[in-house]
Amino acid sequence: MGRYIFQRICQGVVVLLAVSFICFLIFRFTGDPVLMLAGKYATQQEREQVRIAYGLDRPFYVQYANFLGNALKGNFGKSYISQVDALDTILERFPATFELALTAIFISLSAGVLLGVVVSIKPKSLVSRLIMAGSLGGISIPTFLMGILWVMLFAVYLEWLPPFGRGETVQIGPWRTGFLTLDGLKHIIMPALTLSGYQLAVILRLTRAGMREVLSEEYIKTAWSKGLSPFTVIVKHALRNVLIPVVTIAGLSFGELIAFSIVTESIFQWPGMGNLLLVSIFETDHPVIVTYIMMAAFIILAINILVDLLYAWLNPKIQYN
């Protein structure tokens, strides 16, 4: 097991190195960093000073080593636009994105598993058919369109919910939360529903498929014949075994969650990291883009390794050698 963890971490480091190298290439070779740093109206002499000050006159590999060294210290340079440290700019937006993602994961896991169980117990009933039709919709309607349709229904037509923004927030230490005010909670409903939509449909289908398989196993028949309550049989005996792969796959699709959080934040003008990324792309603010990519890569790889280990821990049948 220890050997496996070590291997996975080594792989992760190699991937991060590759990503950092690509990021470095972007930073160095798309657009002219000197022009960006010194400004459009700088004289030839000023440009030369900037070139030397930022080490852009040194050989390629020295520059990459510097870039890596700085990245390890969390220094990715300053945003071209705001002249503020790129990492700080992104971290400031982190709470908004985290709260949105957390709410969405909560919705998709709880609703997805619950509906999946309902559908698998009574597959022929009207309710089950409606749920399955809905899940087909969840897979066939792209996230961005779903979000706009929610806005049209709840914000424009019914006028129940605010159409964009994060609403009133409360600052607790470094963390700015929207969970503690009614206004903040109202603002998070539609974005969270939008972000959870795709994953909800996937989890529902996985739960249904797993439950159908498990419910026909011998040990479930034994449990029924012992006269146990339906709740005990379905939740304690069947669902437990189904949940392991469901949670694993949900965890492994974390990259997807980050991608769709960019889309969701763009629709609802949610002040998170995804929105910041899009703005930075339009303004070719490379330090911010590069920092975002490195951070996303790190988070995704770390979660992948954790999910893998969790899977092995929950399921003793799996052995990594």
Partner: protein, 295 residues
């Protein structure tokens, strides 16, 4: 020849599956509309001489402020919604089919090489695939397109393919590993056939069926992804027609009650995706007899 095709199992099951026929029919109609958009569309929404700003923001024809020359209304530039949808379908389908063809070819090559030769080559290809998979196609495409300075249809295709080959490589590799063990491969080897010949004559044809299913499923996914990218503003440029871009523009007008700019392209997109999904559901059941028996 034609008689043989008509009597095959595939055709037999197809004509008895209503949803598959409906899906295929809608898809064919859409492809037809896309191919003949210049003829079918009431106007060319990207010809500056025919677009009049004074026609902007008109409602669909059956509403009070509508006009018969713009059946589904107009957008903020005075382009007819119906015409723009027809031209947008071209972009959707062109990106969709190009990506599916290119990434499946890439995936087949990498998957076959890895599965057949094994060893370090296999490990390298599969670890790369794992990494790409972890990042997800959508995220990689957004990031790649964010980096590109100039964007057109082909940069979008390129960005999606970079991430898109992975699914195909995994599927092909799996079937190659299975097929490789068969006696006829050993026979081909011992009769002195070259690796290239074995791969393309003996291994590939037997590993293909799951790839066809994947291509059908993938087409819907790619079309949604292109719309998403264009909606975010990192897809096709504003000078090209695209359903995602139309929805992105229309989004600014929903608060003013102008729903037609979002709803018509949106419904077109949903209909297209559902049609492809219905067709691919049938194809999956057909290509995988084990699955059909179970359900």
């Amino acid at each position: 020849m034609i008689k043989n095709i008509l009597q095959s199992n595939l055709v037999y099951s197809f004509v008895r599956d209503i949803s598959a026929i409906a899906g295929a029919l809608v898809l064919v109609v859409f492809i037809f509309c896309a191919l003949f958009a210049p003829v079918l569309a009431p106007m060319d929404p990207y010809d500056l001489t025919t677009v009049e700003l004074s026609n902007s923001l008109m409602a669909p024809a059956w509403m009070d402020t509508g006009s018969l020359s713009f059946p589904l209304g107009t957008d903020d530039q005075g382009r007819g919604i119906l015409s723009t949808i027809l031209f947008g379908l071209r972009t959707s389908l062109m990106v969709g089919f190009s990506v599916v063809v290119i990434s499946s070819i890439l995936g087949i090559i990498f998957g076959m090489l890895g599965g057949y030769y094994g060893g370090i080559l296999d490990a390298f290809i599969m670890r790369t695939a794992d990494t790409v998979f972890a990042f997800s196609t959508t995220l990689l495409a957004i990031l790649l397109l964010g980096i590109f300075q100039s964007r057109n249809i082909w940069t979008v295709v390129f960005a999606i393919c970079i991430a898109g080959w992975v699914k195909y490589a995994r599927t092909i590799r799996g079937s190659v590993l299975e097929v490789k063990e068969n006696a006829y491969i050993t026979a081909a080897k011992s009769s002195g056939a070259k690796d290239f010949r074995i791969l393309f004559r003996h291994v590939l044809p037997n590993a293909l069926p799951p790839v066809f299913v994947l291509m059908a499923v993938d087409l819907a996914v790619v079309i949604m992804l292109e719309a998403t990218l264009s909606f975010l503003g990192v897809g096709v440029p504003i000078t090209e027609p695209s359903l995602g871009m139309m929805i992105s523009i229309g989004k600014n007008y929903i608060y003013a009650g102008m729903w037609w700019m979002v709803l018509f392209p949106g419904l077109t997109l949903i209909l297209l995706v559902v049609a492809i999904n219905l067709f691919s559901d049938w194809l999956r059941d057909e290509m995988n007899p084990k699955l059909a028996l179970r359900s």
